[in-house]
């Protein structure tokens, strides 16, 4: 990608992060940590990679995205809003009674959400079913699914991996957000899923490991995925939980907690500083 394209994506990612902070602050709850760690991936998928139409969210030939780690809905919602699927102001209704922005994504309520998720380990299976269906229907559309690194402790994830490899779902890309933290602490201490790359390789995936905050690396991995035939692809991305909000970074406590007013001001101040720096480039 060109330098200006990359700069544009970086600015968008910063806006998506602001939406995450604003929405969870307004809701007084929600999951900022894992939303912030996956922000570059959300941004790249919806602003560069996926063949989608915000004016026609149910378009049959669209690429699909399944947020298997459904608790990071604030990240997905902020991305969809900034992409034009619904008004950005609505992010402030997150988790409120009568809002369509449920705590976890609902495909029948939110334009652009391809699957209702929230219970970990299920989204990847649904994504595999979508990939199989699209193939059977003779469509070229691709399916992307994002999982948490704690989520892959769920046994169903590996059932789905077997399925995806068995049915040679080369239109499926499984992305693991390896931010290293889950609710109870470090994933390696709670219940180590490592070595993640080796496991995915052993399950029959074409697997690459990248820096999940590097748009060049994301582009390279997703482009490479399109060249793979006869097997599904996996991208294991190293990320920082709470990325770009100093006090949230690498802190498991921010998995499912909203910033209070003072923390909100600080977080927005930091993100605005990042935006100002990007705008000065």
């Amino acid at each position: 990608m060109t330098a200006s394209e990359k700069l544009c994506l970086q600015k968008t990612a910063c806006k998506v992060r602001m939406g995450i902070i604003e929405s969870t602050h307004a809701a007084k709850c929600g999951h900022p940590g894992g939303s912030l760690s996956a922000t570059e991936m959300f941004t790249y998928l919806y602003f560069k990679e996926m063949n989608i139409d915000p004016k026609n969210p149910k378009w049959e030939d669209r690429d699909r995205f399944v947020l298997s780690k459904g608790h990071t809905a604030p990240g997905l919602y902020s991305t969809l809003a900034n992409r034009g699927f619904f008004p950005v102001e609505d992010l402030l209704t997150l988790r409120k009674t009568d809002s369509y922005l449920q705590g976890h994504p609902n495909m029948n309520m939110v334009p652009g959400v391809d699957m209702s998720t929230g219970s970990l380990g299920q989204g990847i299976s649904v994504a595999a079913g979508m990939a199989l269906g699209l193939k059977k229907a003779g469509k070229d559309a691709r399916v992307y699914t994002l999982l948490g690194d704690g989520e892959i402790q769920e046994g169903q994830v590996w059932e789905a991996c077997m399925f995806a490899a068995h049915y040679k779902l080369d239109n499926l890309v499984v992305i693991v957000d390896n931010n290293g933290l889950q609710i109870d602490g470090n994933i390696a201490d709670v219940m180590s899923p490592y070595p993640i790359v080796d496991k995915l390789l052993a399950f029959g995936f074409h697997t690459v490991a990248i820096d999940g905050h590097d748009f060049d690396a994301i582009e390279k991995a997703l482009e490479e995925a399109k060249t793979v035939k006869g097997q599904p692809c996996a991208i294991v991305m190293s990320t920082v939980k709470g990325k770009d909000v100093s006090f949230m970074e690498n802190n498991a406590g921010w998995h499912g907690k909203a910033p209070n007013d003072a923390e909100y001001e600080q977080a927005m101040g930091e993100l605005k500083a990042i935006m100002a720096e990007l705008e000065g480039k």
């Binding site: 699909r64 299976s125 079913g129 199989l132 269906g133 046994g155 068995h166």
Partner: protein, 312 residues
Amino acid sequence: MADVIKVATRDAYGKALKALGEKYDNVVVLDADLAGATKTGVFQKAFPDRFFDCGIAEADMMCVAAGLSTTGFVPFASSFAMFAAGRAFEQVRNSIGYPHLNVKIGATHGGISVGEDGASHQCCEDFALMRSIPGMTVICPADGVEAEAAVQAAYEFDGPVYLRFGRLAIPVFHEEGFKFQIGKGEVLQEGSDVAIIANGLMVYEAMKAAEELKTAGISVMLINMATVKPLDEELVLEAARKCGKIITCEEHSVIGGLGEAVCACLAEKLPTPVRRIGVNDQFGHSGPAAEVLEQCGLCASNIVKVAKEFCK
């Protein structure tokens, strides 16, 4: 009652799937390593390209079915009731029920008539589990003809449907060409002393019981309530008004199934004495199906006994 042909509803399911496959290109079938037993193998043989074995991974299968349904296919996902409704409950609840996807669950080997395999495989909790999911339709046909018709009706219906079939061959009493209506009970016999509301293999047992009760001077209104949810409340209330006494019969726990659904309806709308015949909050055990059924009181003779006591 003359001798009749016996068919296991699981066999009818396999036959019906093949017939659906012939008519509609968008029918796909999934199984979890039980295609021979659930009879989805009949579909597999006819349409290998539209059959997907998921291996012994029911949780994955239910969610794969959900995904397939979002791409325009109508998936029938099959396993034994124990694993379809039990093991994969939360997948069915969250990935099929909550998004209200057009997935059909074909659960075979429901109830204790599984027989020799014993309690681990005798699912008597599936109605309870499935009817607790908002928007889920729950059907348990009473014979092979009704089972085939129910599969067709489930295909035509837009939304999640749980179909429960049995392993045991049971008498066929519906005429060929029978049309299944989701949510509509079927009055098999009018009567005035007691109404028996049954489903699954208990319907034929109730028919036998009704004959015997007639000779004892008890007039039975007999209803086949194949759709457990949504319950045909109008018919339940009509039966209560006509007879003033209801007996429910199901091859399911007395907790959470047809009996409790009928009781809930009557308690709120027309309090009426009820006797529930079902599996009495216990696990089954190994043995030939007929013997296990009899030991649990799921037979005509027990229905007669309960009815006589009830109508004293």
